[in-house]
């Protein structure tokens, strides 16, 4: 009994650490004087770093713990690492803008709660827990979006909230139908009951799964459920945008991975067709609309939509051919990691370009950056090249793994579409590089750089290059995450 309890505690330690430190900081915030609350930046980073260590230890020990509503396998811990990395980096970015300083502690508390929600999403083996975890994450994200109480911030928070609540309505109704058909919300019971389901109850499960797909489609901003994303990304404070593009999106993908693993074998839906069409639309429409954006945050929002499309290719490949499921899903996890690094790097530059309280959002404002800040300009160019998917960067490797899985599963057409999309995306990514290096400056303001920001930029830049050159070990980690799939 005690041994089981200890194992449970160890498995849940990352989640507990995040929730407890969040609650602790919430109490501390209430008693600190307003101007001191920004000091909570340091304990937040400490809590995130400590949680990362816990997650990494648990990943290495790698015990899939059965029982209860929580699952502790390497899939969950692998995605936890992506969440923690993106939250850590975006928290570092928040130091620089007004949001991190003026309003104080609640920002960091909400960040920790959002992370706890993401972690719990990765660990749920029960649809009800998945729903609640999603809500913990989303509610924190809604507040963070409108944290800067400006007109734009309020509008962004409003749109995010309304669309998110609408999506969770679909999600919940899907769960209700699956519960009705199988009598349970537990994944392993559902797969057992579902395997024997026929007639009406199989149709209930199918409709339920379709509603779940719609709900998570909203969360990862897949076309045609993407229309909220550009406005929300533009209006939110930049560090929060970075978090939404990386961590929140990865959390949507972990839920989709679980759905695919649990439901694809027995529902006999045209999964490959559905996901292929979704991937095709998401990539193509994301990239085409990104072409005409002049605001850098909107451009990165459409780019984030397009990148979700690339990752969906990996999901489709994992169902198309069961033989390579492990490799395809590992490629999805790797891509989430890679995309998080690159996009947070790009958002770090957006933060660097703005001064406190007023952000520089237009791509034209970046003209002449190469003369004043050659290092920043080079880093931005690197991130843009990586997002396009040109070697020797991490973005190229991520796409390479995804498309390799797609080719070996036989999704040739979708692979061609993905490559063509990368070519389209080169136009808008490289036009940013052109503006930075070849356009005359107009009324340029020197960005002030702090050590935290320099750390974020140099860390992401070095990781993008280093992992672009030596990706093999990290991909092995991703692959091992999918070796022992429990249900």
């Amino acid at each position: 009994m005690t041994i089981l309890f200890l194992a449970m505690a160890k498995a849940l330690a990352p989640f507990l650490a995040l929730v407890l430190s969040g609650l602790l900081l919430l109490i501390v915030t209430a008693f600190l004087p307003k101007e001191k609350t920004r000091l909570l930046f340091y304990p937040t980073l400490l809590a995130l770093a400590g949680t990362t260590i816990l997650v990494a230890t648990n990943w290495v020990d790698g015990f899939p713990l059965e029982g209860g509503m929580v699952i502790s396998d390497r899939i969950a811990y692998g995605f936890d690492l992506v969440f923690l990395l993106s939250v850590f980096l975006s928290t570092i970015l928040s130091r620089e803008t007004e949001e991190g300083n003026a309003h104080g502690g609640e920002y960091y508390v909400l960040t920790l709660f959002a992370t706890a929600g993401m972690v719990l999403m990765a660990h749920s083996r029960d649809l009800l827990l998945l729903f609640i975890a999603l809500e913990i994450m989303s509610l924190s994200a809604y507040i963070l979006t409108s944290y800067r109480q400006s007109a734009k911030g309020a509008e962004a928070g409003m749109k995010y909230f309304v669309m998110g609540a609408f999506a969770s309505g679909f999600l919940l109704y899907g769960i209700a139908l699956i519960y009705g058909a199988t009598g349970s919300t537990d994944f392993s019971v559902i797969t057992q009951a579902g395997a024997g389901a026929t007639g009406n109850s199989l149709w209930l499960i199918r409709i339920g799964v379709a509603l779940l797909l719609i709900g998570f489609g909203f969360k990862i901003a897949a076309v045609p459920f993407h229309f909220w994303a550009p406005d929300v990304y533009e209006g939110a404070p930049t560090p929060v945008t970075a978090l939404m593009a990386s961590g929140v999106k990865a959390a949507g993908f972990v839920a989709l991975v679980r759905l695919v693993i649990a439901f694809a074998p027995f529902t006999a839906l045209p999964w490959v067709k559905i996901l292929s069409v979704l991937a095709f639309l998401t990539m193509t429409i994301g990239n085409l609309i990104a072409l005409k954006q002049t605001n850098i945050k909107r451009m990165l929002a459409y780019s984030s939509i397009a990148h979700a499309g690339y990752a969906l290719v990996g999901l489709a490949a994992s169902i198309k051919n069961g033989q390579i499921q492990e490799e395809a899903l590992a490629a999805v996890l790797f891509y989430m990691f890679a995309y998080s690094l690159m996009t947070i790097g790009a958002f770090a530059i957006v933060v660097a370009m703005g001064r406190k309280g007023d952000e520089v959002d237009e791509i034209g404002d970046y003209a002449g950056l190469s003369e004043h800040h050659p290092a920043l300009a080079a880093a931005m160019a690197l991130f843009m090249i990586s997002l396009t998917g040109i070697p020797p960067t991490l973005g190229f490797i991520g796409k390479f793994y995804l498309l390799r899985a797609a080719v070996s599963s036989g999704l040739i057409g979708l692979t061609v579409v993905a490559v063509l999309n990368s070519v389209i995306s080169a136009f808008y990514y490289l036009s940013v590089v052109m503006v930075i290096y070849f356009q005359k400056e107009k009324g340029y303001r020197l960005p002030q750089l702090s050590y935290t920001l320099l750390f974020a930029v140099s860390f992401t830049a070095m990781a993008v290059i280093y992992l672009g050159l030596f990706p093999e070990e990290l991909f092995q980690v991703a692959k091992q995450s999918f070796q022992a799939v429990v249900f």
Binding site: L128, F131, I132, E135, L139, Y142, I143, S146, Q149, S150, A151, K152, G153, A154, E155, A156, G157, M158, K159, F161, V162, A165, F166, S168, G169, F170, L172, Y173, I175, A176, L177, Y179, G180, G183, S184, T185, P230, D231, E234, G235, K292, Q293, N295, R298
Partner: protein, 100 residues
């Protein structure tokens, strides 16, 4: 005799009214109400299945959903107040600073 199917039809109707209201109405408060209607439709389905299958976990789930819905309303109304402070209107057609 009222059967499981009757309850389910009511629940599906409620859900569809919620979706239709969300898509057609332009007042943000009414949008919130529509979302609540969708969540309550799901609750009705949960309780129906729990009742007719003699499986109490569905009723428990309904309580969790109510808590989540209450939390959602708290956050949503706070954001709505923020929007109203900024532009003295909660019509979603007028909330359009960002486009493109």
């Amino acid at each position: 005799m009222i059967s499981l199917v009757h309850y389910l039809i009511v629940s599906i109707l409620l859900f569809c009214i919620g979706v239709a209201g969300f898509l057609c109405r332009r007042n943000a408060l009414v949008l919130f109400m529509s979302v609540e209607l969708m969540l309550n439709a799901a609750n009705l389905a949960f309780i129906t299945f729990a009742r007719f299958q003699g499986n109490p976990s569905g009723s428990v789930i309904a309580f969790f959903v109510m808590v989540v819905a209450a939390a959602e309303v708290a956050v949503g109304l706070a954001i709505l107040v923020l929007v109203f402070k900024n532009r003295s209107s909660v019509d979603v057609n007028e909330i359009s600073l960002m486009k493109g």
